[in-house]
């Protein structure tokens, strides 16, 4: 593979020891070697060697994951997919694209968009994260409310199994019940069952028109209700993002703006359709719902620049919040849509009980919430309170029928809580699958449970 593609230097190995999670840097997380294969044959050969010699293998896309999924916990090989970026084929008749796992999601999106086709999954990291990583984590994004998540677009996969065997799952046939649905099994498997090297992705026609609307409410609850009423009445926004008062204050501070103190929640909605008329119809319906809920302000972006400005508020929220405190623990719970206001109430109570600031923003359209605990982890007493609060947030999510993670995966950071969500029997079932596919336990060891 060449010297540049097998890195052994200490500094190089260190570079592959972390991801975008809050797992602290550690010398123990360094892989023993970084390998950067360029073909499926190379991946297969590496895996067969690793299998024979029982060497742990931790696959990695852009290391933009939020739960430690690509951190090598047991040394061995860090398998970087960054050189496998080819777009193999665009099948316009079937509206499908075949890409290598290391291709950046944004590059795939752009490639398809240039031909009038739409790959909708848009995790916040889509500009730099890879398709392989998105599939391994079953990444979501803002468009999930209307268009679903990554798994809804994966038609088939090329996977290298633990012993180096290459299999192909699924295919271009829409209907396919031949054997177990292995494609779905590998989607969201966090690199523990096999190395995804190639994917066939389903595409849809690109919506012709898009519009952006911003609505301000007094309370978060009203914003959530607005989204519910929209969906029930048949208006499905392409995205419906909500931010609470703490987020708004943070954004205002970050951008040096003054904020009307009566604003308690901001809802940003994207609508799309085939023509202006359809957008107008949706806008009118949304306006009626917002007015029924006593919205303060109803802004319709007049051009793409204004739309961009509105979305910049949402995209800037994460770093604006991060600037408020030395540390930020961002979570990713997901609940049934109707339980959104209830779980936020519970989160606010948790914040009060533990004397912490917890900002809440998320995808109101699909019930995926990102509570962010703003804290200083250097203070051990505060750290204890933070951990307690995290646990209670998970309890709250489970209590209303939700789950630990909507789109980030379990990785390392949510491991301690998985039994609460799945029960012992559930985890045992996961383990049985893992043992069947990776009997020596070399693939991404130490993750999920």
């Amino acid at each position: 593979m060449g010297e540049r593609n097998c890195l052994e230097g200490e500094l190089d190995r260190f570079g592959y020891s972390y991801d975008a999670s809050f797992v602290s840097l550690s010398a123990r997380h360094k892989p023993e070697m970084v390998v950067r294969p360029a073909t499926v044959e190379e991946v297969s050969h590496l895996l067969s060697l690793a299998y024979e010699n029982e060497i742990p293998v931790t696959p990695r896309g852009a290391a933009s994951g939020r739960t430690g999924g690509s951190i090598p916990l047991a040394g061995g090989l860090a398998l970087s997919m960054d050189r496998m970026t080819r777009i193999w084929e665009l099948d316009e008749a079937n509206m499908m694209v075949t890409v290598e796992a290391g291709a950046r999601t944004a590059d795939v999106y752009d490639f398809c968009a240039a031909r009038g086709l739409f790959y909708p999954p848009d995790p916040a990291s889509w500009k730099f994260s890879t398709i392989g990583g998105n599939i391994a984590e079953n990444a979501g994004g803002m468009r999930a409310v209307k268009y679903g998540v990554t798994k809804n677009y994966v038609m088939g996969l090329e996977v290298v199994l633990a012993d180096g065997t290459v299999i192909n799952t699924g295919g271009k046939a829409i209907k396919n019940v031949t054997g177990y649905d292995l494609t779905s099994l590998f989607v969201g498997s966090e690199g523990t069952l096999g190395i995804i090297t190639k994917a066939i992705l389903r595409l849809i026609p690109m919506p012709k028109k898009r519009g952006t609307i911003q609505v301000m409410f007094a309370e978060l609850e009203e914003g959530c209700l607005a989204v519910q009423q929209m969906l029930v009445s048949g208006i499905t926004p392409a995205a419906a993002e909500i931010m609470d008062r703490i987020c708004l204050t943070a954004v205002a501070k970050h951008k040096n703006l003054t904020l009307d103190s009566s604003f308690g929640a901001c809802l940003i909605i994207e609508i799309d359709g085939s023509d202006e008329k359809e957008l107008e119809r949706q806008t009118k319906a949304i306006r009626a719902i917002a007015e029924g809920l006593k919205a303060f302000r109803f802004n319709v972006a007049q051009d793409s620049k204004e739309a961009e400005e509105l979305w910049a508020i949402r995209r800037g929220v994460s770093s604006a919040i991060a600037a408020l405190a030395p540390d930020r623990i961002g979570e990713d719970i997901s609940v049934p849509r109707s339980a959104f206001p209830e779980v936020v109430r519970r989160i606010n109570a948790i914040a009060q009980r533990h004397n912490l600031t917890i900002a809440v923003y998320g995808h109101a359209g699909d019930g995926n919430i990102h509570p962010s605990i703003l804290c200083n982890l250097k203070n051990p007493e505060e750290e204890r309170r933070v951990h307690k609060a995290v646990e209670e947030i998970f309890d709250a999510a489970l209590a209303v029928g939700g789950t630990l993670s909507g789109e980030h995966g379990i990785g390392i950071t949510k491991k301690p809580y998985i039994r609460k969500a799945l029960g012992d029997e559930g985890v045992k079932t996961l383990r049985a699958i893992k043992e069947a596919l990776d009997p020596k336990g070399i693939l991404n060891p130490g993750k999920i449970w």
Binding site: F14, A63, A106
Partner: protein, 387 residues
């Protein structure tokens, strides 16, 4: 340790998201994590928490940086990786017993006005005799000495000179070493442009701006030179420079020299394009002239100057915007000498962008970029040569 603390404080704001991976020209070239800003930030953090040992390898990793600030620009949290890299380089350099011989040599050479002038004469003589090109590549004095043009050192986000009380009674020209050594005829053009716009122009015998020193672990020399320049220009209303690197360095002194005088000095520094637009200068239009413009890192991200050169150029001729005009050309001071392969790779991408415009020449505002872009077959000019 104080230097490392300063660097650490900056990189602690990095949450490792990966946004910088898409904009770093070096990461684009080699794809290895330690190259990107995220990798460098993690190295600094690891040095601070004893996960990595300070040493040659760490310095090598941090040295491999254009300081082009593309990462800072893209970063959602605006983490000033370039600044952290400079502090960490100084920390590691000190730790290892001082700057490398070649940097010390260059630093000493640039620290003296006489040696720059002397070398300027030698180079112009070689040029006049047209024998400079005959020298083999490795010995070509042009090439070796460009190491002094220096990469970047910039501060907080782009800041322009404030002109609350814009006085132009006493205007001075700051002649950078890069201009003096390699482009003396361009410097003459700049001077005549300034003569045409102000009543009285002074050309004090300035010292090097100190950027090469700052970038390569010679911070004390940088401070010494800066203090001399601050004193030399204390009496001028405006200090104009036609070198983007000098300009951005001079505008950000306050970060390293916390005196009122240094802050006041920085406030009075202006880039040539900024100054000419402010003065209402309108170039004469040459109808048959078509060019494209390359943004020097130190101008667009170092000083936030984007539209001024474009305004002047669109008045002067047919300005054809290239894609990725603000992407580093790979020159970056001595970078192109230290890492010729990476610099060549970056330049090759620039070449494609330039050629796609069909323009007859490329214009820029920094001698560092001019040296690098001269390696292409298309003519390269400084802004002051076409307006």
């Amino acid at each position: 340790m104080e230097l490392l603390n300063k660097a650490e404080k900056i990189v602690n704001a990095c949450d490792r998201c990966g946004t910088c991976l898409t904009v770093c020209p070096l990461f684009e070239a080699d794809g290895i994590e330690r190259t990107a800003a995220r990798g460098k930030n993690a190295i600094v953090r690891a040095l601070g928490s004893a996960i990595l040992e300070p040493g040659e390898e760490a310095l090598k990793a941090l040295d491999y940086c254009l300081l082009c600030r593309a990462c800072v620009d893209a970063c959602p949290g605006k983490v000033q990786t370039d600044e952290a890299v400079i502090y960490a380089r100084q920390f590691l350099t000190d730790k290892m017993g001082g700057a490398k011989g070649k940097y010390r040599l260059i630093g000493r050479f640039l620290g003296s006005r006489n040696s720059i002038k002397g070398m300027g004469h030698v180079l112009s003589l070689l040029r006049r005799l047209k024998i400079n090109r005959l020298l083999p590549l490795g010995l070509l004095p042009d090439e070796y000495l460009t190491a002094v043009a220096g990469p970047i050192i910039l501060g907080s986000h782009t800041n322009k000179t404030s002109h609350e009380s814009f006085r132009v009674e006493k205007v001075a020209y700051f002649e950078g070493c890069g201009m003096r050594l390699f482009f003396p005829s361009v410097a003459e053009k700049t001077k005549s442009l300034l003569h045409a716009t102000v009543r009285r122009l002074s050309i004090p015998d300035n010292f090097c701006c100190g950027l090469p020193h700052l970038a390569h672990g010679l911070m004390e020399d940088f401070i010494r030179l800066s203090e001399k320049n601050v004193a030399l220009f204390s009496d001028f209303d405006v200090i104009v420079t036609d070198c983007a690197s000098c300009g951005s360095t001079l505008k950000h002194l306050a970060r390293f020299i916390p005196t009122k005088e240094a802050a006041s000095f920085s406030q009075r520094v202006m880039d040539l394009s900024e100054f000419l637009v402010k003065m209402g200068y309108t170039p004469r239009r040459q109808e048959d002239l078509s060019f494209t413009y390359h943004d020097p890192c130190h101008l667009i991200r170092g000083q936030g100057i984007k539209w001024e050169p474009r305004k002047l150029l669109s008045q002067a001729g047919d300005l054809r915007e290239m894609s990725g005009a603000d992407v580093c050309c790979g020159g970056a001071g001595s970078f192109h000498l230290d890492y010729p392969l990476a610099a060549k790779h970056i330049l090759a991408r620039k070449k494609v962008s330039i050629e796609a415009t069909g323009a007859k020449m490329v214009i820029t505002g920094c001698p560092g970029c001019m040296i690098q872009l001269s390696k292409l077959s298309i003519p390269v000019c400084h802004l002051s040569q076409v307006i």
